[in-house]
Symmetry: C3
Subunit: 277 residues, 3 copies
């Protein structure tokens, strides 16, 4: 950890009204009174590990060296699932070993340890709230300079979520929606580099819909269903000032196919006002 | 900027679950590691510029000199709309030039610049997320002491929302509801100074309702529909321990008329238990 | 107050979208520019004093000495209800005198004062927003070192919520649900120490349901209705990866009875898949 002031972020599915997050903040500030505590979110759907992983994937890379991220979406709390900490690109992560850190751990050079040293956790560890009793205190100790390798042994078998794959053929790339955001944008797992120029985007499960690629929302007409490269570098399906999720009645898991634009015209073009069930 | 520690506030319509706000916080802390980052809100309705402007109008004046407010409700991101920064009353604001800063920019002595200097934004600016790539880094630079006039040229034609006007006649003042708050209070654009003593409040679109002015909720009976001067100095319509918005089936845009109290009696008095559709 | 950096927490029913919380943060930072301002929650249901008290009970004990907690759920704002501050276990609390601090004030050694000294509040105090005009500035002054006894006279008659009692008989303990959390867990007022080994849990209002005690969620089958000792030391009723509140159609106030396990078998055992109306 550099001499930058300690910064700890929180990402949970706890909401805030029950006081669980408040307790975690207290534990952190008690151990590291100078820590900045920044909320990433507490609005992950209860138990939605993939949703938490996606939120983290969108945000972590922009944080400063030395930042400690506490990530708790933990339906298996109290089971034999391990608690882990990771060092990736000069940042630190603590979380249950359930796939929540998947996108982070896939980075080259990640160091992952199982948290086993009792001196970094609360004296009494409850069976139901490791956010407060394990992850918050470990994060606070990392933020004040403890070494990650003091926490426990290095492991190489951390749990990773099975990520949906992208299929590349001669004339198309097929992937799927991995996240629906607050605006109803459908974020896919198709990387910008996999999208040909003048692409057209279709949906195997919505055979009558095809959409054009634009560079920015402003190129679309109000209410038009479009595709574009989103802010983290993946293909997104969107409606300008509207919700693509609502328009397509779609969410996580919907198949998305990107073909060459000269292939266009085989289906109906989904223009302004087109609504598909 | 004074020697006070750097403080940055955030006001967006992003929610938190998608990681967009987390990314912005990371960008700010990376540039200005000692910055306090305080959330104003991320719960503005998607694309609701007027709602964001109202939230900012309610809060900004209470912040300290040197505070930098990052405000992002930005349905036009990626279009030709400008990015602006403003210095008002020793505080700073960065936002899309779409009216979000309206109430702030109407303050005497506001200095407004178009953000055009590339060295204050991220190296790569996405087409869809200027909160992370433009507004967060510019705010972080202002928080650590950059001068607002270094950001770009001064402009005098920033976009302002068309604010609803108040009509003053010999015997009444007419305005409208500009905001419904979480408690169902209907906040109007009628200034305290425009409200006569012993006023009675009526609604042209609800001809059978009239309400009396009180000084405080406690003067009302439980469930009574009343009017009072709210905490930012404007007339509000409220129900003690209930929702005026629900009671009147009303929200932003509803006309409100304030007449002299001796004019009372022309309509039915809306007392406890009265419910209007 | 020790030399630890000033930390202020906020717990309200204000939501964030209206700017009320933003205004409070501005007031605090204006008076104490070095204060860390940590949100506990702003999502208490409007006017739900008991819900706010419960959130505070879950979180306050974990905070550091010197922390100042601003708690505002205040349906009686503008009435004659007092504003109070309290010092408990080296932490500080400011709140309306309406029972919001009940669990804190029951701690041995609590010092409670009525806030009466005008110099600690804003020059103009509105009739409707004491969060901004009274509680935030008082908290900021406490955070920078003012003494609690400077705020006003010590009182010994602060308002306490009537807490539901626990009835202990020879063969059972009877209490009730005092909180439903985000996961649908039903938190009771039955202390861990009152729960016999091998207990079985029944509900007088749901005569056909009985559940077994487990040590942790992981001992339950997916979807099983169970009881366990929760993270703050009270009996909770839960469904593994599901909602006990939904399963039982129950919430705050439901009666809960803990009997000896050898008493089991009198009712139907609620196993996986059992759903009661």
């Amino acid at each position: 950890v550099s001499k930058a002031p300690p910064r700890v972020t929180l990402l949970t599915d706890f909401g805030t009204a029950d006081g669980y997050v408040g307790a975690m903040k207290g534990v952190i500030a008690s151990i590291t009174p100078t820590a900045f505590i920044d909320d990433i979110t507490h609005d992950i759907a209860p138990g939605d590990i993939a949703g938490g992983a996606c939120c983290l994937a969108t945000s972590w890379r922009f944080h400063a060296a030395g930042t400690v991220h506490v990530c708790v979406v933990d339906p298996g709390v109290g089971s034999a699932r391990r608690a882990v900490a990771a060092a990736v690109a000069d940042q630190f992560f603590v979380a249950p070993d359930n796939g929540l850190l998947t996108h982070v751990l896939l980075e080259p050079g990640a160091t992952i340890v199982e948290i086993s040293e009792r001196r970094f956790v609360r004296d009494t560890v409850s069976r139901t709230f490791h956010g407060r009793d394990v992850f918050a205190p470990v994060a606070a100790h990392l933020a004040r300079g403890s070494s990650i390798t003091d926490l426990g042994p290095i492991i190489r078998d951390a749990v990773l979520l099975p990520l949906p794959t992208v299929q590349i053929s001669a004339d198309s790339v097929s992937g799927e929606v991995v996240h629906t955001d607050r605006f109803g944008n459908l974020v896919t797992n198709i990387d910008a580099g996999q999208v040909p120029d003048a692409a057209r985007v279709t949906f195997p499960e919505r055979s009558n819909v095809q959409v054009r690629m634009v560079a920015t929302y402003a190129e679309a007409e109000e209410g038009e269903l479009i595709a574009l490269i989103g802010s983290v570098g993946f293909l997104e399906v969107a409606v300008r000032n509207g919700s693509a999720a609502e328009r397509l009645g779609a969410g996580r898991g919907m198949q998305v196919r990107v073909g060459r634009g000269d292939d266009a015209g085989r289906g109906d073009v989904a223009g302004r006002g087109t609504r598909t069930p």
